[in-house]
Symmetry: C2
Subunit: 190 residues, 2 copies
């Protein structure tokens, strides 16, 4: 027996995405978003949903590009700040002591300090009510050498990404490994 909770966006887990874009004056801006994820495997595409009131929204439409960085556990406070204040009134990169780096692939910046960065070309714009969903085609990924293992794989246990949970409105780390995908399921049925 289940309880009806009404219409809510209760997807768990959601990621913590740092969206990088250029303001009209050319300064680098970041904001934090949790509404997003992978959109397609080929072409490699990601989705991030952003309210039109934000500086980032206009920036992405202007430059047709953005970056998405994945912060690590120790950067949770920094990530949270970038979601608390507006890029219209704050130079968040400067305030947080972050180092803006221009993407060599798209017309958008990222902060050198985040361990993993997806450089995205704006591929589609979907108006979905309160949020605009931006689809970014990933042109390149830049990762800190320390989280990349053999075969150019990112080791998630070295990355230590942040998990955001609605309801709790809290950030969590990654827990223990439950099993291997495309593998453990083989034992589910006799």
């Amino acid at each position: 027996m289940k309880k009806s909770l009404g219409p809510k966006t209760l997807i768990y887990p959601t990621p913590v995405l740092i969206v990088g874009s250029y303001n009209a004056d050319g300064t680098a801006n970041i904001m934090t978003a949790a509404w997003g994820g992978v959109a397609s495997s080929k072409p490699a595409s990601v989705a991030v949903s952003i309210r039109s009131a934000t500086a980032t929204h206009g920036n992405i439409l202007q430059r047709k590009a953005f970056t998405i960085s994945i912060p690590c556990e120790s950067q949770a406070m920094v990530a949270d700040y970038a979601g608390l204040v507006s890029g219209r009134e704050h130079n968040k990169m400067a305030e947080l002591g972050l180092t803006p780096v221009p993407s060599d692939q798209v017309d958008a910046p990222y902060a050198a300090e985040f361990p993993l960065v997806l450089e995205c070309r704006l591929a589609a714009v979907h108006e979905l009510g309160m949020h605009t969903q931006f689809i970014g085609e990933v042109v390149d990924v830049k990762a800190d050498y320390g989280i990349v293992t053999e075969g150019n794989h990112v080791d998630v246990t070295l990355l230590r990404p942040i998990v955001y949970a609605m309801g709790a409105q809290a950030y969590f780390g990654l827990g223990h490994q439950l099993g291997k995908a495309f593998e453990m399921g083989k034992g589910a049925v006799e």
Copy 2:
């Protein structure tokens, strides 16, 4: 200094979503997807990306509805199996001993055993290459009483959702709490 890894969809974390739909013959089908997330807050909307080769893809287009269930840690093996085999050849619900329940809101089923279910009306379809992105407007959420706390909030530490990580191709549990969102960031800047 960062290493270039090429175009990859390296978003961390991604969720484990169980998509419920009706086959043409009226049997209940489930499949597992990790490409998805929240799409808009109002109307409450979620996104899930699915390949056109799947049974689920045609089912959603036919009935204009689907459910998304969030499995818990102890259901990782079940969730993985539902992503390994096709609903065209397997009655996955029956094989896994799951109980199909018709949504009372939309023309789609879910499995009673998963603790959290989003009942979705198909709101938009975006062709994004290898994957079709389905936008579902969440009409209602059904949650096990045991994970709902005061104020009708879902307690994520009771839910124990599964985190999927690419590269590792592995499932993880939720780790320890790092801090409160919209709160811990206040201390990031002097």
